[in-house]
Amino acid sequence: MFRLVAHRLLTSIPLILVVTFLTFFLNSLAPGDLARTLMQGGGTEEQYQQLRVEMSLDQPVLMQYWRWLSHALTGDLGVSFFTGERVSTLLNGRVGVTLTLMVGVLVVCVVAGLTLGIASALRGGFVGRAIDVLSMMGLIFPSFWVALVFIAIFAVWLGWFPATGYTPFRDNPWAWFIGMVLPVMSVALHSITNVAKQTRDSMIDVMGRDFIRALRAAGLSETSVVMKHALRNAALPVVTVLGTIMVAAIGGAVFVERVFVLPGLGSLAVQAADQSDIALLQGATLYFTLLTVAINLGVDLSYGWLNPKMRLT
């Protein structure tokens, strides 16, 4: 297990390096340079040159990257070009909202996805067709569009939930919860059916295995055979799917935070991209990549927990 975790962490290093280097590399490809963009045509040539030196744009790309990386390792991600605030402060203030959103998506996917999946594995028929239709809808409608439809129906028309905005948990737990319902559902909608489909397939597969017959022969109740033994054995591929869903939910967060005006990492990253605030975007990229690594690590750890064979090697 220890080796598994160590391996995952080691193989994550190239991923983090590639993603974070990308921005520097792209910058070097860009036609104009950033200093020019930031000055928006104003300022003297001297000021421009000075800004270039400040931003180390006069140095080779690899040197620029090395400077950023060595600072990043000490926790210093630089300052935002626009607000002048420390990037790490800005990001840390935002990460909680995104994490809340993702944990919400995970909970909804696990609860609803497993329920639907097990129901359709055991009963088939109607539930199965409903899942197929739902997953088709989830596939063809963009998440941000679904989010808008949710707002139109549940916030504007029915008035059950607020349309936009975020209330911190500390201020008002109930308002916090109610405010997260629509964002979480918008991101989770099509993922639920992914989990349900995978659960159905692997449940059907496991239910056909010999030990299920042997457990029944031993006189165990059907509930225990299905909910304990079959589900536990069917869980591995479901966890894999949950991992990809969580990584995809990062993308979903970028859109949905924008729609619901949530102060998360996603909306901050979009704003940074829009304003070419490279230092801020670079920091956000790092956070997103670390999130991806953490998700994959979580998946690995659950493998070990679910499968005793992996735990020991």
């Binding site: 596939l139 439809v149 997103f288």
Partner: protein, 594 residues
Amino acid sequence: MSDILLDIAPSAPVAEPSSFGKRLLRKPLALISMLWLGAVVIGASFASKLAPYDPLDQDLLGVKQYPSAAHWLGTDALGSDIFSRLLYGAWPTITGVAQAVIVAGVLGIGLGVTSGYFGGRFDRWTSQVVDLVLSLPTIVVLLSVLAVFHHDVLAAMVTVGLIGSAGMIRVVRSVTMGVRGELYIEAARISGLTDTSIMIRHVLPRILGPVLVQLSLFAAVTVLIETGISFLGLGVPPPDPSWGGMIADAAVNINDFPWLLVPSGGAAALTILAFGLLGDSARDAAAEGWARPSVAPRRAAAPLATTMPLDFDVAALLSLRGLTLTATGAPRPIVNNFSLDLKPGETLGIVGESGSGKTMTILSLIGLLPRGMHVEVGVMRLAGEIIDLRDESALREQRGHTIGMIFQEPMSALDPCFTVEHHIAEVLHRFEKLSRSQAHARVIELLAQVKIPHPEDVAKKYPHQISGGMAQRVAIARALAPKPKVLLADEPTTALDVTVQSEILELLRSLSLSRGMAVILVTHDWGVVADICDRAAVLYRGDLLECADVVELFHDPKHPYTQALLKSNPHSAPVGAPLPTIQETLARMSGGAA
């Protein structure tokens, strides 16, 4: 002569082999999808001629109108004609999809075929890069690209194509590797064709199907991404029309004019759906190339016998009458009118060739027939209770504490996720109220009873950590836990080493004697029958031929088949001579009789 010819003529018309393209075009969904996509492309290309209004024309007196004859899809918040904006807005989407698909397609096919065909170091390097790219968070990379290349949809879509090519490479590579191994590729190489021409002429046509599937599904995703970045305001700069931008407009006006969501989202969703359906149809069309039509006629349920003489042996622990099993689609019953009586403490062997129905017989006693197998008729009297074998819930009631079972493959009879102790304790808790420590003591006691050395250690182990013989002992301990009166054993030693076999049989025998537990043992091994059975029943193609005391059966078999089966016992064959088989023994005997 003509009769014979008629006979060998195919009874059903065989589908003519047709090309992938033809099969695809024959699918209505594929056709409809292509029509929609064609309409979008034409609409986008000739927007300036087809659109009734200029997309940027504003009419502040006619804002937020619902569909009418003048404005087919209504007007937006600035009074612009929505239909015209949709037509113009299709252009960035269509070109964006084309850019991404071309990049992904060219790179994916080129690198995928090359690395799948040649393998080696190039393949390893490609695979590593592919793995890395596949783990990139797409949207994060896109944000970086758009931060540097402001509103540059081309740069964004090329990036999407680059990231998407990784998935393409993986698919194309694995298909190519499959094709490469086939004989005709080898033949082409021997006949002197160059690698390049083999790849183009022989490999490419074969991978066309999967590539088309992947590309259309990828196209569906790119529509999502293109509308997404324009929705975020990072793609097509407003007020230029784009589908994503129109959804963003709808977001602003959601409180008083939600209709704006419908045309923009609908156009995007229909386009995504069309690509998705095209991909699905392509997959089906590719699959039809090798699939045969499956025919599974379902046999009509036979009328159930309503009256049956119930002449149970009251002295018996288990008395079975008239068991008849059928399989869906099978012409004759799997087991036909089988009856038996089993006294307490008795061990009965059921002997027969593979497929004679012996395993199905005992599975029906515990209500665990596989899907497609049915009890047509069958009643048993078990420990004083009369049970209709068609009633699965009545059988479920008896499982475990009245009638238990062990199986042929001990390893696959245990759930790999739980420890030995858990397997047994779980059954104990099901039938008795026990504390945790009481249950533990019972588990250890049971493990000791099945002669497992160091039961405390073994209890903690997982199934993959113990041997097959050990696993069978654990399975026996689990079956014994609720103290069943009858134990069914389905070839419990076939999968084990010879030395372990006799130990397990001895264990079963001694448990049966010490607990007064009756055992039904299914086997094809006469040695096993001679070792531990009191009586044996001989089953041949579902018919019970003979059921007699073992000593009597061995010395004076009544039925010719039993005689033949006994003669084909490999243990009594002379050393060095070919082993006798049941077919040749039967043939010799029937020849001798004639």
